[in-house]
């Protein structure tokens, strides 16, 4: 097929945008594996920087993973029932509640963190534990689970399915766990992946909430950007990308499946 010149122009533009998005990422990959970035790739490739980063910063990786998993669990436990309730109620109150839930995302993270810090900062043991950061992450990620789960619930004709379960003798709790939850698994999965991804990368809140004992991966990254040499910072970024990209791939696969389901 012959393409018009407009198509070519748009394609070129898109490729340019793509280059803008990808070139720095590639540069960071190369820098993290190059012996000396000033001299260029000709100085040889090495895993030394990654090893060095791992030595210095591996606790941040573990803490971040721990936080992300805990955050996903917490958000599921409070978010799935909340999504169910919001879909079920669908009145002025539920819409107001949804608004309230999204507010921590709309507000600058720094402001939320400051509010948390000034209110709960004086509780020493809470302040210095990783749970303090967890609270911030849960607040920030909650809507990212509730929204997709609500969308799936609205699509699945859940009320009728629930009526069917009730007609077969299932009480409210049983209906929730045997009909509601299994039928929005895809939404929950998409939400959980998003929550884990965001929690792993959260910085705005975490920077204010962390203590020297509770450094997460992005906090460590910021540290290394400020103080370490470029190769170390790049290697560290590389580790972060290695953690986050598989999650993003899975997320894209699931959202593709979800949108196909929508058309069916």
């Amino acid at each position: 097929m012959k393409r018009s010149s407009l198509f070519i122009a748009q394609l070129l533009f898109t490729l340019l945008v793509c280059a803008f998005m990808l070139v720095p990422v590639l540069m960071s990959l190369v820098a993290g594996l190059t012996r000396n970035y000033f001299q260029g790739v000709s100085s040889g490739l090495t895993f030394d920087w990654i090893a060095q980063v791992w030595q210095a910063y591996s606790p941040t990786v573990w803490l971040s993973l721990q936080l992300a998993v805990a955050c996903a669990v917490c958000v599921c436990v409070i978010g799935v029932p909340a999504a169910y309730a919001l879909v079920r109620m669908n009145n002025r109150f539920s819409r107001a509640f949804e608004e309230l839930m999204v507010l921590p995302v709309a507000m600058p993270g720094l402001a939320s963190a400051l509010a948390l810090l000034l209110t709960y900062g004086q509780f020493g043991s809470f302040r210095s534990s990783w749970l303090f950061i967890l609270v911030g992450h849960v607040l920030f990620t909650l809507p990212f689970l509730v929204r997709p789960v609500m969308a799936v619930m609205q699509r699945q004709h859940l009320p009728t399915l629930e009526e069917a379960a009730a007609s077969l003798g299932a009480g409210p709790l049983r209906r929730f766990f045997s009909v509601v939850v299994p039928n929005c698994r895809a939404g929950i999965l998409a939400g959980v992946l998003m929550v884990v991804t965001l929690s792993l990368g959260e910085f705005n809140l975490t920077w204010m909430l962390h203590t020297p004992m509770t450094k997460t991966l992005p906090v460590g990254l910021a540290d290394s950007y400020a103080s370490a040499r470029l190769e170390v910072a790049s290697a560290y970024t590389l580790i972060f990308l290695l953690m986050i990209v598989p999650l993003l791939v899975a997320l894209q696969a699931i959202s593709a499946r979800l949108s196909r389901g929508e058309q069916r």
């Binding site: 198509f7 748009q10 533009f13 898109t14 945008v17 793509c18 803008f20 998005m21 990808l22 070139v23 720095p24 540069m27 960071s28 409070i78 029932p81 909340a82 169910y84 309730a85 919001l86 079920r88 109620m89 539920s94 309230l100 999204v102 507010l103 921590p104 995302v105 709309a106 600058p108 993270g109 720094l110 402001a111 939320s112 400051l114 509010a115 000034l118 209110t119 709960y120 849960v138 607040l139 509730v146 009320p159 629930e162 009526e163 991804t197 990368g201 959260e202 910085f203 705005n204 920077w207 992005p218 950007y225 910072a233 970024t237 972060f240 986050i244 990209v245 993003l248 791939v249 894209q252």
Partner: protein
């Protein structure tokens, strides 16, 4: 009469099970409500009150913020920067999004995937990527050295910040525009073409109005994110006079909680106002996070 009958029927369909299930539904909301109340509403209220407190006879935090040219300038700068980033992101992301949604060609899905990955990159990482592009040892510095004999370094200025904010806004715009494009009625365009409208006329008269709700709500979110983005600015240097950095400096360097709180509240209120305004403008379409 037939309309009331119909209405009764519709009500019957959704009717009583919903009402009967409502107490259960309210219970299901309780954990989320408790968490939000304890860790969000209460701290927020505290922050608002704190911002109004007097300190050292300098007036309330809000007064200090609103009467200081430094803070006001920082707020204005942040707003202008966020607005410019939003417009640029809408332009770039809009063109790319429409193109990717409308055309089918080899490698399209890969391109979409690559373009949307950076959506979840945290601000700090984006800041670092900007440094790699336009920092002292960045790509542009090398290019400049080769072409003009001088290093082109603009990462540590507002231009760098603009680049960073643009970086994390573009994927979001592309995603939203692609989704909106898919739900756009193609026959409208065909109708316009059949009436003799040229390509640009169709773009102006059909496509842009059709995408307007998506553009507005997505733009509002880009604006809000840019207003509050702290990570990128933090990585690029704390001497940049944008409000999040100002809050951070006031809080950590001067331990001035009152002004920090007041600044946070003002920044939050501004952001929220823009989101609310956008919501008003597109009443029916729900914002995509």
């Amino acid at each position: 009469m037939s309309s009331t009958v119909l209405k009764a029927h519709n009500v019957a369909a959704g009717g009583l099970l919903k009402r009967r299930l409502r107490p259960t539904a309210a219970w299901a909301l309780a954990p989320a409500a408790a968490v939000l109340a304890a860790f969000w509403l209460l701290p927020l209220a505290h922050l608002i009150v704190l911002g109004g407190q007097q300190r050292d006879g300098a007036g309330s935090g809000y007064w200090q913020v609103l009467s200081s040219p430094q803070y006001l300038g920082s707020l204005a700068q942040t707003c202008v920067l966020a607005a410019v980033v939003t417009l640029a992101a809408l332009l770039v992301g809009g063109i790319t999004g429409v193109f990717l949604a409308r055309q089918r060609f080899f490698g399209r899905t890969t391109l979409v995937a690559l373009l949307t990955f950076p959506l979840a990159f945290p601000g700090v990482v984006v800041g670092f990527l900007v440094i790699l592009l336009a920092g002292r040892q960045g790509l542009f510095a090398m290019l400049g050295l080769k072409l003009a004999g001088e290093r082109w370094v603009f990462a540590y200025s507002l231009a760098g910040l603009f680049l960073g904010y643009l970086y994390f806004s573009i994927p979001r715009v592309i995603l939203t525009i692609m989704a909106a494009c898919e739900s756009l009625d193609r026959s409208l365009e065909e109708a316009a073409h059949s009436l003799g409208a040229g390509h640009w006329r169709v773009v102006c008269d059909v496509i842009i109005p059709g995408l307007a709700p998506a553009l507005v709500s997505c733009g509002a979110i880009c604006f809000a994110t840019s207003m509050g983005a702290f990570g990128t600015a933090f990585t690029l240097g704390t001497q940049l006079n944008v409000t999040p950095v100002a809050i951070y400096n006031v809080f950590t360097n001067y331990a001035n909680f009152t002004v920090a709180a007041a600044l946070s509240v003002v920044l939050g209120a501004l952001t929220w106002a823009v989101l609310l305004l956008a919501r008003r403008m597109v009443k029916q379409s729900r914002t995509v996070l």
